[in-house]
């Protein structure tokens, strides 16, 4: 019996470890390799709209000789792309800061609320997920458009005259509103879980040692919630950088984001190699914050041990 139990958990463990790896290799690594390969190919007006370069091992040398970095060079030549990257990063940074500004007080109030109502508050934060993301963004169009609900509300409150209209829709502001609204739960939940773990007697101890409550927040609460701040910021920052739907639906002509550029290259210009190159660069840009995030996590875990 002891022999059987010694081998079978080993196999089971191997299986448990293997499944996610197989999944990642099949659905992440292989598509990524394909994208990288396409990004190194040349555009061709055909079906599929690129030259299939690999047709057997005999042509391996031909294949390698046909790969080039032209698409990447082109990305550096046209300032449109670097501007799109920078603008995306700017939007992501500003949005993440806005999310922290809105989300931190919410998470703090939730964590300080009575034990009894905390599950309800968490439920309320998650509740928007029960409706499709797309529908919720469309709802914002209904609110923000010139003849929309916001205009009607301001007019009925006599804050706006009958022919005045809210000019938010199709501006950068609308994009920020949409992003902050959509990503708020992803910011609040990690912050809440970090703040909820905080031992209340630490604040009492700080108070006791002569530290008034507002100062104790910056000396104790905030530093101890940093893992939550970093987790929430990364979870929001990374997808916001590549965000396509919100700027497409709520943004205007001046909204330049890399997700939109990518879409245009892919479906508008049908330049798959260039679009692939844009995607590869985007991934590299985002790997940096992910590495920082993981480093921070490791440090946090190391501190506890």
């Amino acid at each position: 019996m002891s022999q059987a139990s010694a081998t079978s958990p080993g196999k089971a463990r191997w299986l448990v470890v293997a499944v996610p790896y197989v999944w990642l290799i099949l659905f992440f690594l292989m598509p990524f390799v394909i994208i990288v390969k396409i990004s190194l190919s040349d555009t061709a007006i055909s079906m599929p709209p690129y030259t299939p370069v690999f047709q057997g091992f005999s042509t391996l040398r031909d294949f390698i000789s046909q790969l080039d970095f032209d698409n990447y060079l082109f990305l550096t030549e046209d300032p449109l792309y670097s501007e799109a990257y920078l603008s995306s990063l700017r939007v992501a940074v500003v949005s993440t800061l806005l999310l922290l500004l809105v989300g931190y007080p919410m998470a703090l109030c939730m964590a300080r609320a009575n034990h009894g109502i905390r599950p309800t508050l968490v439920m309320l934060v998650i509740l928007p997920f029960w409706t499709s993301f797309l529908i919720r963004v469309y709802a914002w169009i209904g609110i923000l458009k010139p003849e929309g609900l916001l205009t009607l509300l301001l007019q009925s409150l006599h804050l706006y005259g009958p022919d005045e209209q809210v000019q938010i829709f199709r501006t950068q502001t609308a994009v920020y509103i949409g992003i902050v609204y959509s990503y708020l739960p992803f910011m609040v939940l990690p912050l809440y879980s970090a703040l909820e773990k905080l031992d209340g007697t630490l604040l009492e101890a700080a108070n006791d040692l002569g530290c008034p409550p507002w100062k104790a927040f910056w000396k104790i609460t905030f530093p101890l919630s940093l893992p939550g701040v970093i987790a929430g910021s990364m979870i929001c920052f990374i997808p916001i950088t590549g965000e396509f739907v919100i700027p497409d639906l709520l943004g205007g002509a001046q909204t330049l984001m890399i997700g939109k550029t990518l879409w245009t290259e892919f479906f508008g210009n049908r330049d798959w190699p260039l679009a692939s190159a844009v995607a590869v660069i985007l991934l590299i840009v985002l790997v940096i914050p992910i590495v920082i995030f993981q480093n921070q996590q490791r440090k946090a875990e190391g501190g506890k041990a």
Binding site: D199, E204, A205, A206, N207, D208, L209, K219, G303, A305
Partner: protein
């Protein structure tokens, strides 16, 4: 343990001096949480440089009382005076008290020295002075080589020392200790108790300690207040609490005791005067020499500590009073002491403790032996409450 023991402790009894001003005064303090009365119209004086214990079972209001002094709770009624000044409404960060928390509440993101310096930094002391004070404190609790460590890298005993150093660093007028040694093992706890006393003596501070551990309270305190359900049952020195408890509750809570219900048959003196009381406890005749508390006919409790009951195989000189025959029903061998549980002829179980003065593995008295229990008239005590 401490290498140098310092000066010999002096007798310290400011509470017997009618002219002494109390350092801390709880005046008719009541604290309610909703319908629950945590502290009920309590008045208590604590003197400067006193090591004072609040002792009681959990939920008796001792922690609430301490938290009111620290400023974390405001009394519902009554006021707290510190050096004659009412401190109601003063927030905790402006009170000259510091607390050592039961959970230690060390800041996990700060090193040991940063933790100790925290309170001093709040006072905006010059950097050099903070550094000297931190070094002083580290030396006091013997943690110099751990200054750079984080609390998570310390053992339980070391954390407890950091917490103590942090609460002492600001030289508070009163140090509050909330079950400070609860998490330590017995040996370390004993050592630390003596160290606490030394530190208190050296720094000349007033210590108020909350504990449910009666041994701890007995060891460290100048006086103990025994609490029950929001009121103070008795305030006295450890010896008085042990030898002259004022009620069945205190007698039972502190140490081991035999409590026998009985009736007063006669008293040789008027109430309040020293004399001899004769009791009848369902056939067991007891004589007690003490201040006569109750008149004849009253139901009282006769209380006697096990170590004051003598146990012998031989018939004592006097068998009609303060003596009873029985059979050894159980023995608890504690090393230094043996505790005998004796079932008397009238069906009671009485406890008698005997110091094991000789190195015998086989004790002369063993299970099932017929023995006599007897005691002198000044060994026991009559309790009316």
């Amino acid at each position: 343990m401490a290498k140098s023991l310092g000066p010999v402790k002096r007798k310290f009894t400011p509470w017997t001096d009618p002219g002494a001003q109390p350092f801390i005064r709880f005046e008719n303090i009541t604290k309610r949480f909703g319908n629950f009365v945590a502290v009920d119209n309590l008045t208590l004086d604590i003197y400067e440089k006193e090591f004072f214990s609040l002792l009681g079972p959990s939920g008796c209001g001792k922690t609430t009382l301490m938290r009111m002094l620290a400023g974390f709770e405001e009394p519902t009624e009554g006021r707290i005076l510190l050096q004659g000044k009412d401190i109601s409404g003063v927030p905790p960060y402006r009170r000259p008290t510091n607390m050592m928390f039961q959970s230690y509440a060390l800041f996990p993101h700060m090193s040991v020295e940063k933790n100790i310096a925290f309170g001093l930094e709040q006072d905006k002391l010059p950097k050099g002075e903070i550094e000297t004070r931190v070094q002083e404190m580290l030396k006091l609790v013997k943690l110099e080589q751990f200054a750079r460590r984080k609390p998570s890298q310390l053992s339980g005993g070391q954390r407890q020392r950091v917490a103590l150093a942090r609460s002492l660093a600001k030289r508070p007028k009163v140090l509050l200790l909330d079950e400070p040694l609860g998490a330590l093992d017995r040996k370390l706890r004993e050592e630390t108790q003596f160290e606490l006393m030394d530190i208190q003596h050296t720094l000349g501070l007033t210590f108020l300690i909350v504990t449910h551990d009666q041994e701890e309270a007995m060891t460290v305190s100048d006086r103990i207040a025994v609490m029950d359900k929001g009121i103070i049952v008795q305030v006295a020195t450890p010896a008085e609490i042990y030898e002259a408890p004022n009620s069945r509750y205190v007698a039972d809570f502190i140490g081991d005791i035999n409590l026998v219900e009985g009736k007063v048959v006669s008293t040789s003196a008027a109430a309040g005067q020293a004399g001899r009381l004769a009791l009848d406890c369902d056939g067991l005749k007891v004589a007690v020499e003490q201040e006569c508390p109750a008149l004849a006919g009253n139901t009282v409790a006769f209380a006697i500590r096990p170590e004051k009951v003598r146990i012998s195989l031989d018939t004592p000189a006097q068998t009609d009073v303060n003596a009873v025959r029985g059979e050894v029903w159980d023995i608890g061998y504690l090393g230094d002491f043996s505790l005998f549980l004796v079932r008397t002829e009238d069906g009671r179980v009485l406890r008698a403790a005997q110091a094991n003065v000789s190195r015998l593995v086989d004790r002369p008295i063993t299970f099932g032996d017929q023995v006599w229990l007897h005691w002198s008239a000044d060994a026991g005590l009559v309790l009316t409450r």
